[in-house]
């Protein structure tokens, strides 16, 4: 049951372009989902840390760490699936835009985890955004940058 409107729980403009279904259906799913996408994590942030922070908003079913498609190492995102929509809304309200491992993390609605989504979609295996990034990010080193830290 969605609670009343409030900007921090509204849908963002991002849409998963690989979603199998209509835009309307995706929107409907996003509006009732209890799953969040969590982004801008450090590659070193662990499932344990995600647990600790996100359980402040309620009990959840699972955390699925995003992995590099090739290396199978964390690549800076995850999905958090709550039992209830209202707990997920609270995470959108109170965790989105705060820090974990010194990084401002971002949460967004997700239509629900599907097998395969845990992998980065970039050509090199990680997230696409890291391939286009023009600056060095200590928390998210690309393979050729590892020596820098």
């Amino acid at each position: 049951m969605p609670t009343f409107a409030s900007p921090s729980v509204e849908l963002s403009s991002y849409r998963d372009r690989r979603f199998k279904g209509s835009a309307g259906e995706l929107k409907r799913l996003l509006r009732t989902s209890s799953t969040l996408y969590v982004g801008n994590l450090s590659f070193y942030t662990t499932e344990e840390q995600i647990y600790e922070l996100f359980s402040k908003c309620g009990d959840f079913k699972s955390v699925i760490m995003g992995l590099d498609k090739i290396e199978k190492t964390p690549c800076g995102f995850c999905f958090v699936e709550y039992h209830s929509r209202s707990d997920a809304e609270n995470a959108m309200r109170y965790i989105n835009g705060t820090r974990l491992d010194d990084r401002i993390i971002r949460t967004d609605w997700d239509a629900g985890f599907v097998e395969g989504r845990q992998y980065g979609r970039g050509k090199t295996g990680g997230q696409v955004r890291d391939e286009y990034r023009t600056y060095f990010d200590e928390g998210r080193p690309r393979r050729n940058e590892i020596y820098q830290i």
Binding site: S8, Y44, Y51, R93, L100
Partner: protein, 805 residues
């Protein structure tokens, strides 16, 4: 209207169009009126007085056509924007002066609102309606005498016999909290009646029981700031206000500027309003303690923080709490509104805000919102006001730390959680050196304990290396161990352990992806140290030892790995651990492997409860067992106990809800069955699988049989819940009594750190779960909390029962 168009009658299309346009024009006017009313009093280029005057004229002109709309908007504003009460009362006053009938209708409307709110137990809405009516006395809309009659009736409700004290409390609170608005007017016009009202209140307060007070205090000591009971505090503030001849300086009173217009107006008399009689289903607000951590000496030079008993302090705090209530869903707006407090130049605002936020965080028995709501608002405040807020917050932390010795245990936990969370949002920057004197204290003393627990929580949000690096060297003893498993079967000297060979075999089998049955096979010939004549011959401690430690160690890489291991070998757990004793053995082995990783233990227990490998009662008994005595005062152990109790409570509530739904459907289906046989279409549409458990998910009519079974399940769950509470309280009573007796015979002071932590935890269980515990209150009283118990323990029970007395 006179411009008639040709062929008007025939032109159906045109007529419909015009009608639509008229509707939308009306809508437009209504919207415009609404927005004008909503926004009056906000920042504007002209003065509030001229805005009010203008708005009153606009509304007067529209009263003929939009009367009910205007009535509705104005009452809505009165309830939803209580901070603008005096602005709207002035507006109503001006309208009443122009149109006496409208004034009367408004009063009627507002009175209905008050009555409805009282019946619906909307206590704040009721209080705001009352305040609004009272302030209308100041605007010459309502006569002072008729308001006093209403206040008298409310105080009479506090004289009733056989009703809960919380009901009486609320009526007195409602009256007292209205007096800042109207006290002066009543004093000038009806001094004697006002005095009479106050005497009645004083008599009531004198007789009132305050057993709950001790349980709700944040600190046990009253120095430097008394932790006053809320009615006592407000009473002291009102008495001081009376001494000052009811002159207060906080409430803006725009009606004063219109005195010449308003005093010409005719007044209405309130009808007789009697509080609705008590009903058992009514829930009244619980009492609380007024949290204070600052006085004017804590604040730097500048505007002075009003004293604890000045009415301004009450008004400011109430207003700030209201802002939090209104904006808590949007933390950034909330912070901005707090910092934009209308009287910010007159008070040290940062201090008032921080005090009010901590008051909510430390509110007993539980905070109004999630703890993270307050934490995230404090972060936004620091971001918006970086030049002052972080310092004020640091000063507040320092004060809380210094006074932590007598802080109640539930608040200690919240303080720990908040501080670790806050630090993790600010690069863990803190001047720990300032706290190094705590290193000289007994490790069980709340100060070193606080630092240690904060570091443990910080570790969960961060990583071990980081914590080690951020702490100054002298604090080394407080730094948590690296959260790693200790697998004894791979450690040096493991060869001499009886289970080592089997453990190694098990590692190989599990790595080779063996089936659960094969695990049992590997463990098969481990000797049982217990005698055969024991009740549960299946319970073999060594098998459990080897299996649990080996499996959990193999899954130690992450929570997900551990969970996967547990679900894959769920069957083995169930085979090995049928009895509670065996389940406790699982817990003991989990502890042996993971005692340096508290978070892991919490989530593993959570998982094992969910998957029914262990029962709640086993967890409770394990926590109070001898082996855990070294951990007994650590925060995580209580985190586990509370999660266990909560799990049980959720289970009971869910079964209760499902039963109620099934009964409802059964009733529904029975009354429907006469009319149609094939069920209602609505129910059939709903094919999605929202249900949680098997019985009664679909919207088909449940059979009587099914409902009976659900009833049985609920009863069984309630019996389990009761049993869980009995175990917990009995164990508390046992260890506390033992301690008290031992100290008595040895002639030692019983009031040790251990005692304080333990009694605090007992108190916490009562308060955190009071709604559930309440159900078994009489059982607890007859079975456990009997008169022969040590008064120190009994006192905690009495505090609890008086919460809703």
């Amino acid at each position: 209207m006179s411009r008639r168009r040709p062929h008007e009658e025939e032109d159906g299309y045109d007529r419909a169009y015009r009608k639509r346009r008229r509707v939308s024009e009306n809508q437009e006017i209504e919207d415009r009126l609404e927005s004008l009313i909503l926004r009056v009093g906000e920042k504007s280029t002209s003065s509030l007085e001229s805005n009010l005057e203008g708005l009153a004229s606009v509304l007067e002109a529209d009263l003929a056509s939009f009367r009910s709309k205007i009535l509705r908007i104005l009452t809505d504003c009165a309830i939803k924007m209580p901070e603008k009460c005096t602005i709207y009362t002035t507006l109503v006053g001006l309208l009443n002066a122009k149109n006496y009938n409208f004034g009367g209708e408004f009063v009627e409307y507002m009175v209905r609102n008050l009555k409805d709110s009282l019946k619906a137990c909307k206590w704040n809405a009721a209080r705001y309606s009352l305040r609004f009516l009272a302030d209308l006395v100041n605007c010459h809309v309502i006569s002072a005498g008729s308001l006093l009659q209403l206040l008298d009736n409310m105080v009479d409700a506090a004289k009733e016999d056989g009703v809960p004290q919380v009901r009486k409390d609320w009526y007195v609170f409602a009256v007292l909290s209205t007096l800042p608005w109207v006290g002066r007017e009543l004093y000038e016009k009806k001094e004697q009646s006002l005095e009479h009202l106050l005497v009645s209140i004083e008599v009531f307060l004198g007789k009132r029981s305050k057993k709950h007070h001790a349980a709700l205090r944040v600190w046990a000591l009253d120095t430097p700031h008394p932790q006053e009971e809320y009615l006592d505090c407000l009473w002291a503030q009102i008495r001081k206000l009376r001494q000052d001849n009811w002159a207060e300086k906080h409430i803006p009173r725009p009606y004063l500027a219109f005195d010449s217009i308003l005093c010409e107006a005719l007044q209405h008399n309130l009808p007789t309003i009697l509080p609705p009689p008590h009903h058992d289903s009514y829930q009244y607000p619980m009492p609380h303690v007024v949290f204070r951590m600052f006085d004017y000496t804590d604040c730097p030079e500048g505007p002075i923080l009003p004293g604890a008993h000045s009415i301004e302090r009450f008004l400011i705090e109430e207003h700030l709490h209201q802002i939090i209530e209104m904006h808590h869903l949007e933390r950034k707006d909330c912070a901005a509104h707090l910092l934009n407090f209308p009287y910010k130049s007159k008070i040290p605002l940062d201090y008032s805000i921080v005090e009010v936020i901590f008051a909510e965080l430390f509110h007993m028995p539980s905070p109004r919102y999630l703890e993270i709501v307050y934490g995230s608002i404090l972060i936004e405040l620091c971001k918006l006001q970086p030049s002052t807020m972080p310092q004020v917050l640091a000063q507040a932390t320092e004060i809380l730390f210094i006074r932590i010795d007598t802080m109640n245990t539930a608040c200690f936990d919240r303080f720990v959680n908040w501080f670790a969370y806050h630090l993790s949002n600010f690069q863990f920057r803190w001047s720990w050196e300032d706290w190094d004197s705590c290193l000289q204290l007994d490790p069980e003393h709340p100060r070193p304990k606080f630092v240690r627990e904060v570091l443990l929580k910080a570790l969960r949000l961060s990583y071990h290396q980081r914590i080690k690096e951020m702490m100054p060297e002298p604090f080394e003893s407080l730094i948590p161990a690296k959260p790693e498993p200790k697998f004894k079967y791979a450690a040096e000297g493991a060869g001499s352990l009886p289970g080592t060979t089997h453990a190694h075999k098990l590692v190989v089998s599990i790595r080779a992806k063996c089936k659960p049955e094969e695990v049992l096979h590997v463990l098969k010939d481990l000797p049982n140290s217990r005698h055969d004549d024991d009740a549960d011959s299946r319970f073999n401690p060594l098998k459990i030892d080897v299996f649990v430690q080996t499996l959990l160690n193999l899954g130690s890489k992450s929570f997900s790995h551990s969970f996967a291991a547990i679900s894959k070998f769920h069957y083995v757990f169930k085979e090995l651990a049928d009895s509670e004793e065996a389940q406790i053995c699982i817990l003991r082995n989990m502890f042996e492997l993971w005692n340096d990783h508290q978070q892991m233990m919490c989530v593993l227990i959570d998982k094992m409860l969910k998957t029914q490998i262990i029962e709640c009662s086993a967890v409770a008994n394990w926590i109070f067992s001898k082996e855990m005595s070294g951990e007994f005062t650590k925060l995580y152990l209580w985190e586990i106990l509370h999660l266990t109790i909560r799990k049980m409570s959720k289970h009971v509530s869910r079964l209760g809800r499902e039963l109620a739904e099934a009964r409802e459907r059964l009733r529904h289906a029975e009354s429907d069955s006469d009319e149609s046989e094939d069920g209602d279409g609505e129910g059939n549409n709903n094919s999605s699988k929202h249900g949680i458990s098997g019985v009664g998910d679909d919207h088909e009519k449940p059979s009587e049989d099914m409902v009976d079974r659900m009833e049985e399940r609920l009863e069984a769950a309630q019996a389990d819940q009761k049993n869980l509470f009995l175990i917990i309280f009995q164990r508390f009573i046992m260890i506390l009594s033992e301690h008290l007796v031992r100290c008595d015979t040895d002639g030692r002071d019983f009031n040790t750190h251990w005692y304080k932590w333990t009694i605090g935890r007992l108190q916490q269980v009562f308060l955190v779960h009071h709604e559930q515990v309440q159900k078994y209150s009489s059982t607890l009283e007859t079975l456990l909390f009997t008169q022969d118990l040590d008064p120190h323990i009994l006192e905690v029970f009495h505090q609890f029962t008086s919460l809703r007395a």
